[in-house]
Amino acid sequence: MTASIDLSSYRDQHFKGSRSEQERSLRDSTTLYVGNLSFYTTEEQIHELFSRCGDVRIIVMGLDKYKKTPCGFCFVEYYTRAEAEAAMRFVNGTRLDDRLIRVDWDAGFVEGRQYGRGKTGGQVRDEYRTDYDAGRGGYGKLLSQKIAPNTDNR
């Protein structure tokens, strides 16, 4: 009865430690990664939803590395594992700010991890995607450049 709280296949390539250390951290973690947020979703909205599962210790908004504005993900940390599991079970795959969000285990916030790792500063997925997503800056970055080259993306 653990499908909802099982580890996903994602592993952080920048994690400082071995694979098995990362997995151990993930299994004990009280920190969650939340993805597919709109760039306009606020910390307050996130706090409200995730508080339905328990006491939120801290939220760290994911930011564009250059613009320092939200770029569609965040970390939510609880005080206890049980509360984090509740979020995996009852919030993952439901809507926040009218978008289906993804909740996954995270090994723990480390300074620097709040920044997108895409070349242009946001998340990697926003570099390459080809769909139009009004909540995430429209078309993906590469495609945007093709449509309107020399537009300053910075």
Partner: protein, 741 residues
């Protein structure tokens, strides 16, 4: 055919294909004990899968174990007890399995019964009530599968019924045993009627005497009523079961809804020799050994007229309804953590009964449990997520039923208790946020014409505030019809009054702002505040706090990082309760329009150990905040202080316990004080809404922490006895104390 193939694939060696109905001529090799045990366990657990293939599975299993009983007997019995304990509604399938084995192996049947009786006695002694009940149900079904004689079972039932006649025993004990006996009757009522009518009548008479004469329904059950009026059906669980049994009796014990997987095996089973049960005496009553189950109420939302015309549902006094609900509750208990699996199982149950209004029943059971008193076993969001999943899987049925249910709850709001009300607000706001907030608000227009504190009006106000938290202010404003204007939340903006340079303290504010913006050292700030001698402490703290909050007004992260940077200054200033109160006062002033920020920041100050929990209590019950005390967020804050005090490890366990007790006592005393001091605003109003809300929320807090409050029962009783003028409050406290014994 399918089920046979499946288990053969699981066996280590693949046997030859076998014709239906004959024993396999070559059994798989059994030299690996562990693998065989694993297969047996797997097959036994699968019996509870309640599907069309259960018949085949039962048969397969009974063949598989036939040769090896003498090796695996005890393991099989152990697994049997485990499976039945967690799946009491599947007792029929397991009884069938035992019955088929008993046909060939009489000894096994006897040993099984011995084991079950032993386990039953053990669970009654140790207070494992769910397990006891499932074992008794299994024994009842073993009558149906010709393992046990009818007379033997009647003997057992009568022995259990003896407890009902123990005049000196507490009602909860007697109720539990009455429940045990009544629960078996849907399963074997008909069999008892056909074979031992006179004895059955005598048993019923004994129970009737208990239910009608001996049983007094107090023990604080009053407090469990979700609704304060009699119109919406709420039944004491035992009283309802009794009435359902009475109806069943009238119908000559013919029961349609329960699954009877043994029916196809009737011919084979009837060839077996039946056993007698070893005698069982229920354990004697020993005070303070086990806690008997507390009473609960059964919730009904829909009436027969609410179902679509082509669907029916057995009405509430029909035992079939009991069977269906028990099944839904069992599924929920087993799978609530995995919403996809849970939804699938519930839907399978719907599909198996296409003529019944199963969707209505499921929604009713889920919402009933979500709203139940004293508290619900699961998080509100658990029910919400499950309902969302059901709506996703069956979009042409469930959303409509959920909407219907929400509407019915809305129409009954004025009778709903505060605790259920809060959960309704939280659930519905979350539900709406997953469906684009689409709702026909005009249907609820009645709430715009009632007094401000009337439950319908409060509901929409609180609901819209929660919707605003999950979305944003403009969105809520634009989604509501104009007639709802008075119920809209205010725009949740901060108000930094020291912008006005003429205000006392504004000069200090300006200096502080400049200092902080020029990245001064935190110590400098402390110095600045100290050196401002012309202002009182309270004002200085107000200025400093509001300055911090103003600088951090963009987001929680901003506020928290300022608090973190200037933690030393804050700690220094928070040297006494009065100063801490000033900090809270500053917060509530600058963020007057934003309940979420007030709540989250006050909680943060407590968790940073800048403001003490007891100070928050004093603040919440401050006379100046009287109008805020009817609102949900104040009690969310209060409950957070209790949770923090209870779970945050700081001191030795003893200190922590006494700290928690002191806090709870403080809350009760403070609340009682504001309630007794309260004068209704207008004598003309028959209902004092303010009082209802505050008392209701106090009751909710007490229910949330029953085990801890029990430790201060005597003090609470003392408080209640001193409430001469406030009978209502005294009654609530006394009822509560009776309930939590």
């Amino acid at each position: 055919m399918n089920s046979r193939r499946r288990w053969r694939e699981e066996s280590p060696e693949d046997a030859e294909p076998v014709e239906m109905g004959s024993r396999p001529s070559k059994m798989p090799r059994r030299n690996d004990h562990k693998e065989v045990m694993g297969t047996i366990e797997n097959l036994m657990v699968k019996l509870s899968d309640n599907s069309a293939t259960v018949q085949g599975r039962i048969e397969d299993l009974s063949y598989y174990v036939a040769d090896t009983l003498h090796i695996y007997k005890w393991d099989i019995l152990r697994i049997l007890v485990e499976c039945v304990a967690s799946h009491p509604m599947q007792s029929g399938a397991y009884a069938t399995f035992v019955g088929l084995v008993n046909v060939r192996d009489y000894e096994f049947g006897g040993e099984c019964l011995n084991c079950l009786v032993q386990q039953l006695l053990k669970s009654l002694l140790e207070g494992e009530w769910t397990k006891a009940r499932s074992l008794v149900l299994l024994l009842a079904d073993l009558v149906n599968t010709s393992v046990l004689t009818v007379g033997s079972m009647l003997q057992l039932l009568n022995a259990l019924a003896n407890v009902c006649e123990e005049e000196a025993s507490p009602q909860r004990r007697r109720d539990f045993y009455a429940h045990l006996v009544l629960a078996t009757l849907p399963l074997i009522g008909r069999e008892l009627y056909e074979k031992k009518e006179v004895a059955l009548q005598a048993l019923i008479k004994r129970l009737q005497l208990y239910m009608k004469k001996e049983r007094t329904c107090t023990d604080g059950v009053r407090l469990l009523r979700i609704w304060s009026n009699g119109d919406v059906p709420q039944y004491d669980y035992l009283e309802l079961l009794w009435q359902q049994i009475t109806r069943l009796l009238r119908d000559n014990w013919i029961e349609q809804e329960l699954l009877r997987p043994y029916a196809p095996f009737d011919e084979t089973l009837s060839t077996a020799l039946q056993h007698h049960l070893p005698a069982l005496e229920p354990p004697r009553y020993e005070p303070d050994t086990v806690t008997y189950p507390r009473p609960w109420l059964v919730f009904r939302l829909f009436e027969v007229s609410d179902f679509p015309p082509d669907m029916r549902m057995p009405d509430e006094l029909d035992i079939g309804r009991h069977a269906i609900e028990s099944h839904i509750l069992e599924t929920l208990e087993l799978y609530h953590l995995e919403r996809k699996v849970c939804a699938e199982r519930l839907l399978a149950y719907c599909v198996a009964r296409p003529t019944l209004a199963m969707e209505h029943c499921i929604v009713e059971v889920l919402l009933g449990q979500m709203l139940q008193l004293p508290s619900s076993p699961l998080l509100t969001i658990n029910y919400g997520a499950l309902l969302i999943e059901l709506c996703k899987l069956v979009p042409d049925k469930f959303p409509r039923v959920v909407a219907q249910a929400a509407d019915m709850l809305f129409t009954q709001l004025e009778y709903m208790n505060a605790s259920s009300f809060d959960r309704f607000v939280n659930w519905f706001s979350h539900h709406l946020s997953n469906f684009r907030y689409q709702w026909n608000w005009q249907d609820w227009e009645s709430c715009t014409t009632v007094p401000e504190l009337h439950p319908s009006s409060m509901f929409v106000r609180e609901l819209l505030k929660k919707c605003m938290r999950l979305s944003y202010y403009q969105h809520v404003v634009q989604m509501m019809p104009i007639s709802f204007a008075a119920l809209l939340p205010v725009s949740p903006d901060p108000n930094f009054k020291y912008i006005n340079e003429l205000l006392p303290g504004a000069k200090l504010a300006k200096h502080l702002l400049e200092a902080i913006r020029s990245k001064c050292a935190p110590e400098l700030l402390g110095g600045l505040v100290e050196s401002t001698t012309e202002l009182e402490d309270a004002l200085k703290i107000n200025v400093l706090m509001q300055t911090f909050l103003h600088l951090g007004c963009k987001s929680f992260t901003h506020i928290f990082s300022i608090f973190s940077k200037f933690q030393a200054v804050l700690k220094m200033l928070a040297c006494n309760d009065a100063n801490q109160m000033s900090m809270l006062s500053a917060l509530f002033e600058l963020w007057a329009s934003n309940e979420q920020v007030k709540l989250v920041v006050a909680d943060k100050l407590m968790k940073m150990q800048i403001v003490g929990a007891h100070v928050i209590v004093a603040w919440v019950f401050d006379p100046t905040l009287k109008q805020e005390l009817v609102k949900m967020y104040m009690w969310e804050l209060l409950n957070l202080t209790v949770k923090y005090t209870k779970f945050h490890r700081r001191d030795s366990e003893q200190d922590q316990d006494s700290r928690l007790e002191a806090l709870l006592l403080n809350i009760v005393q403070s609340c009682v004080q504001v309630l007794t001091k309260h004068q209704p605003a207008s004598q003309a109003l028959e209902i004092d809404y303010w009082f209802d809300w505050v008392q209701g929320r106090l009751q909710q807090l007490l229910f949330n922490y029953m085990d801890d409050v029990r430790n201060i029962s005597s003090k609470l009783r003392q408080i209640a006895s001193e409430l001469e003028e406030c009978k209502r409050l005294a009654n609530m406290i006394n009822d509560y104390l009776d309930y939590i014994q």
